[in-house]
Symmetry: C2
Subunit: 316 residues, 2 copies
């Protein structure tokens, strides 16, 4: 039965892809088998991350890039990572809807993840979803995420090309840098480039990027002007993505990146496994008691840490 699922995924059957993603997301019994099968096959699907501050037009740009890739007859998987509040659900996320026009195309598979507060899980699921698309033989996987903070850094670590989307009014350069987006971009997009101040924003972005460490062999992140809503500049973006891909290939960085990624992921899996085995109900209760003893100054913090580590290493 599960072999049938793998066959279907490899035939790009959407229902089977959706099923695999759900099993992985729910950490179901089948998920380990699915991950085992798909994790050894990766390397074909090129992973693009699209990030930027709220309001920069990431969804519209993703939409436009998607259209371009579909025109080129590529198969594309999209993971929209959405740090939405859990108490409002996803009901108000109007800009997702804009993706639905191209979202129904047979070459496209879109999955949204509401992920607030479970960042470790986000990275894990996002990479495994990429592996599923890979296994299915999709040409591209696009990750869209709201930038600023840890999530866009995690995504940057999990893709081949990171596209940072800004708008002229993204704020002065200092704010943009504080957002920490400058260091992770392989390609910068100044979207809504018909707005006032666009050229100035590009110039100051250029200035900021000139501080990035580089030598003759490093990739110089280009800045592209787009008006995603009018589908302007999308060819440019597409070409720059291919250029970056070729740069990575030429310098053997693509395989290196992917192995590094895989290694990080395995280490996370192992950490999670250790945590699961460590925090039995018994040790949790012991910790509660010890915390009270620390407050009463009868135990030291370091003693508690060492005792728990040792009990784990010796007794099981």
């Amino acid at each position: 039965m599960i072999n049938n699922l793998f066959t279907k995924i490899a035939e790009k059957d959407k229902r089977s892809i959706a099923r695999a993603l759900t099993e992985i997301e729910n950490n179901s019994k089948l998920s380990e088998k699915i991950i085992d099968e798909i994790s050894s096959s990766f390397g074909k699907s090129y992973r693009i991350g699209i990030t930027g501050p709220p309001g920069a037009g990431k969804s519209t740009l993703t939409n436009a890039l998607l259209k371009k890739l579909v025109e080129m007859n590529y198969y594309v998987g999209v993971i929209a990572v959405d740090p939405t509040s859990p108490f409002t659900g996803g009901a108000l996320l109007g800009d997702r809807i804009r993706m639905s026009e191209i979202g129904t195309h047979p070459n496209v598979f879109i999955r949204s993840m509401a992920s607030r507060g479970s960042l470790g899980g986000l990275t894990k699921f996002a990479s495994e979803a990429g592996d599923v698309f890979d296994y299915a033989g999709f040409d591209f996987t696009i990750y869209e995420t709201v930038g600023v903070g840890q999530s866009e850094l995690d995504i940057a670590n999990n893709v081949d090309t990171t596209v940072v989307v800004l708008v002229p009014e993204s704020g002065d350069s200092i704010q943009a840098m504080k957002a920490g987006l400058m260091e992770i971009g392989d390609i910068f997009v100044m979207n809504k480039a018909d707005r006032a101040g666009a050229d100035q924003a590009v110039a100051s972005l250029q200035f900021i990027l000139s501080f990035r460490e580089h030598n003759e062999n490093s990739w110089l992140p280009p800045i592209i002007k787009t008006i995603a809503s009018e589908y302007k500049g999308i060819d440019d973006l597409y070409n720059k993505i291919l250029e970056h891909k070729n740069f990575l290939l030429k310098n053997n960085l693509l395989e290196l990146k992917r192995k590094q990624r895989f290694k990080t992921r395995i280490k996370e899996l192992i950490s999670n496994q250790l945590k699961k085995e460590l925090w039995t109900l018994e040790r949790n209760n012991l910790l509660d008691e010890n915390i009270n003893l620390i407050f009463e100054k009868k135990l030291k913090l370091s003693t508690v840490v060492n005792q728990l580590v040792n009990s784990f290493r010796n007794n099981n």
Copy 2:
């Protein structure tokens, strides 16, 4: 010698406080002893987190609140968490400088942390710094951080009262919610409240907050209008913080929060200890070899994970 350090910290000696923070930040040999000593003493310093999108005026508000607290003769420690790009350093962070006027007051101790990409370390240092201020007998510890993403969630989990700062132009409600700030605020501040659209922004914020789950016993997050640069609304903010503190005290939530925080921190310390012991050079090399075998389909991912976990638990 180290006992002398503790005595000096307890006397609020700034150089000794700075020294303790540096030792902890550098994870020096002394740091364990320092943490052991300070970690059992906490509970006096009230922790306030100030977060919000870039450009909301967090630093100005922190500055104003600081001034208010100093006027009340309180001692205040400030940790400014700054996810700056490492390649530009902190040189361009103009808005930090604005804090320096009050920053030199004898009752105030300010520490900036540039923390990009080391989020686990950030939380650890931030809480331990709070413990140092606590040990010194400071009345308040303020954490300031750029919101959106994981860092502000981490800070929210480490403070008693979280203040979310917004401005009328923070963008439409959907974007604000995507930023995920709505669920963590105990108090909301609409800063720059003299700007156009302020009342409308307050109204839509009110609407969004009405979706938050609550019952007759829960805290209803108030919205305060401020013009921090003109020191307007700061008394209101201060009073609401005290109100929230009393609410927590009355419902026995303050101690609960603090114990929970301490527990999470010990668990992190233990995880880090396990990771450190696990990833010897030998096991790192083994993992590299195994990754190649996975790609050659000679080994399964789950086998690799289980073997490494077991080797750690049995062989040391």
